[in-house]
Symmetry: C2
Subunit: 139 residues, 2 copies
DNA sequence: GCTTGACCTCAAGTCGGCTTGAACTTGTAG
DNA sequence: CTACAAGTTCAAGCCGACTTGAGGTCAAGC
């Protein structure tokens, strides 16, 4: 399976063909060539698509993702920028971990209302601690 | 500061007044009453807004968030559902942690192209391992 | 008691991320 | 060699999450 046409990529990646065309148009991926009109993709595309999906769940826009990894999938940023993205991600991870803990605790806590439970509130406070991360921060 | 009008809430939370009205319309929050036409909010609103923001960065839609916590901000799900959400969150956290590690490693790795670096690829593989989580999974 | 500016409602607009549909081309199977 | 399923382009549409604008109301300060 060296070269795949669009439907094969769709099948293996779970990403619809229409989305693949859209991504190409947006410069997030590139087809390796054409057979007639039909796009041909190399196997690396699957890796790249995982990366894109990952970036999305991390809350990055397609534009940001395109900026981070070129259409080739290679990280495309300076050391400093990479570290900054990693740090941003770590802050997100911390908040989400706190939320997870909070939910799990709420599931088992006997307090009459969760908001009265000090543990739950403490976890929420941690979770809510959103400094200027540049990540989805409201104006 | 017992009762706040909408602009005070906006100021303290960073969430624009238009968004607050929108959230109320969508049933994510409730104003505690009115003074004339003007909405009045209690202090809890700030906590609730943090929770909403958190849910958003976790990748939940406003509908889902409204389902998880009523307009009051109280968790609104069964133990099982809370555990399920927590588990889902944990999987997201794992993937994001892997991405973070991957980025950080890429920043310092001497390999000519990152895709050739076995460490980077291994991290990506971990990161890409997306089973049926129900979370942002493509059709 | 009047002005004024912060609030209100409601409809329409915007933006990102795709999807859908119509009209067309083409590699492959029979 | 023809039929056709699967591909292509391009424009338009859709959904979620808001924002904006026009026009109306009202509480507070002068």
């Amino acid at each position: 399976m060296k070269l795949m046409d669009i439907s094969e990529v769709a099948k293996h990646s779970g990403v619809p063909a229409s989305t693949l065309r859209y991504y190409e148009e947006q410069g997030l991926i590139t087809s390796i060539g054409r057979r007639g009109l039909r796009r041909l993709f190399g196997p690396e595309i699957l890796q790249q698509l995982s990366l894109i999906a990952l970036g999305q769940t991390a809350g990055f826009s397609l534009d940001e993702i395109a900026g981070m990894f070129g259409a080739n999938g290679e990280p495309n940023l300076s050391r400093a920028e990479l570290h900054a993205k990693a740090d941003e991600l770590d802050r997100t991870v911390q908040r989400l971990s706190a939320l997870s803990d909070g939910l799990r605790h709420a599931a088992d806590c006997p307090a009459p209302t969760h908001m009265e439970c000090p543990t739950f509130r403490r976890l929420l406070d941690i979770a809510a601690r959103r400094k200027a991360t540049g990540h989805r921060t409201a104006p």
